[in-house]
Symmetry: D2
Subunit: 133 residues, 4 copies
């Protein structure tokens, strides 16, 4: 599969739990970091937006866990993005283990952009980003 | 809605991110803790099982974010569980803000139980738990 | 020992690492939550201050780990606070395991208060809090 | 200053808190990851040891916070290690911001190695590592 963006990671031991595998909640951290790096590379700065009270928020996450990551594993996140409705963006994100290319996780993350009063607000730079897809 | 189990929480400030709201990944922590407390109350000890190489793992998570939690918010997790297939358990988990009962998040978490070799293995105590539903 | 404030906790499984014990970094989370709850109970709201660009920050942490916490452990944090210099506050924080009162961790956390430009700034409410000790 | 090991990082947004800076507890995560990567590069595998019930544990941490890291910051951890007593190892760890080399944090982390029964136990590979310094 082709991805618009990919980012390399390595498991950190504090991310693993009693079972010796990466805790299920940590994958949302990996996915968020990959999304924000993608946005940054596309000229959209999550933190700068937050400072101006434009908040990109997740409205829905669907995660399919296929193979657990373990201590020492390298992995990468592949990402594609599209505007699904006027006010919603959809990120398709896949995680692969580096050593053998095995699929680790498939996710669909839906987000929107809201202003200070919690109302949907899609700024020009965000809209431009997704229209380019 | 009636729940088989509920657990009270309070937001901790380190769980909030730049946007001043609980980070989207933290909700999976809340949900896991509620599931493990439910299992423990039902006689199934996640940590003791892990020590014996019986691992309860999440295979799918579906999260719908409705209202963000913020610093100072109390909230509670309501949980219902059922065996969805021979080898899969399904947890329906809802989070509500305590001050006004507002729905914060709806989740369906699917899990299974695997043995040392990564094969599906449903022990008697786990099977008994879900059959009682 | 007498404490000005104490707060009860229970270990959550996602806080434990490969070794089956609470990860060393998580204790700083416990200590922060106890400090913020203490401050809140004393009329100082960390999050509200942050919104007004008054930031309470940690400048030094000394942690002595005595006994590791494990899955299922209840524990409590005892806290005493004092103003150590004009611009510094010191929190003495001890963690005890609930089941047997065993000392888990001793910490001294030093903090200060800074304004928007990163300069030390001790507001009246903060100063009042510590002078009362 | 010369370091026996250094590791590059980039701040991830979920590591930042309400104040828009990396939360004080997260630095212990960075430091742990740097130590484990150093140990691995030196032939000591933390996770493999844990599986064999040889646990490397932190007994004391001293952290001096100098400059907060923020969203987007690159940084690196420099590390030196020495055996401080027969049973204790000491890691001197400094964090620097990449863009301007500014000192972010200074830490001294003391650790020991314990066996299944919680008794101090320094295996040959660990002892060899520190004696080489």
């Amino acid at each position: 599969m082709d991805y618009a963006f990919r980012l390399d990671f390595k498991v950190r031991d504090y991310e693993c739990d009693i079972q010796g595998i990466v805790n299920n909640g940590v994958y949302l951290n990996y996915l968020e970091h990959a999304r924000h790096e993608y946005l940054l590379a596309s000229g959209v700065d999550f933190a700068a937006l937050a400072k101006n009270s434009i908040n990109l928020v997740v409205t829905r996450a669907e995660l399919d866990y296929k193979t657990p990551l373990r201590s020492g594993d390298g992995f990468w996140v592949g990402l594609n993005a599209r505007q699904s409705t006027t006010l919603r963006f959809e990120f398709l994100q896949h995680i692969y283990r580096s050593c053998d290319g095995r699929l680790v996780l498939k996710a669909v993350i839906t987000g929107t952009s809201i202003n200070e009063r919690g109302r949907p607000f899609v700024s020009e730079e965000i809209s431009g980003l997704f229209q380019r897809k």
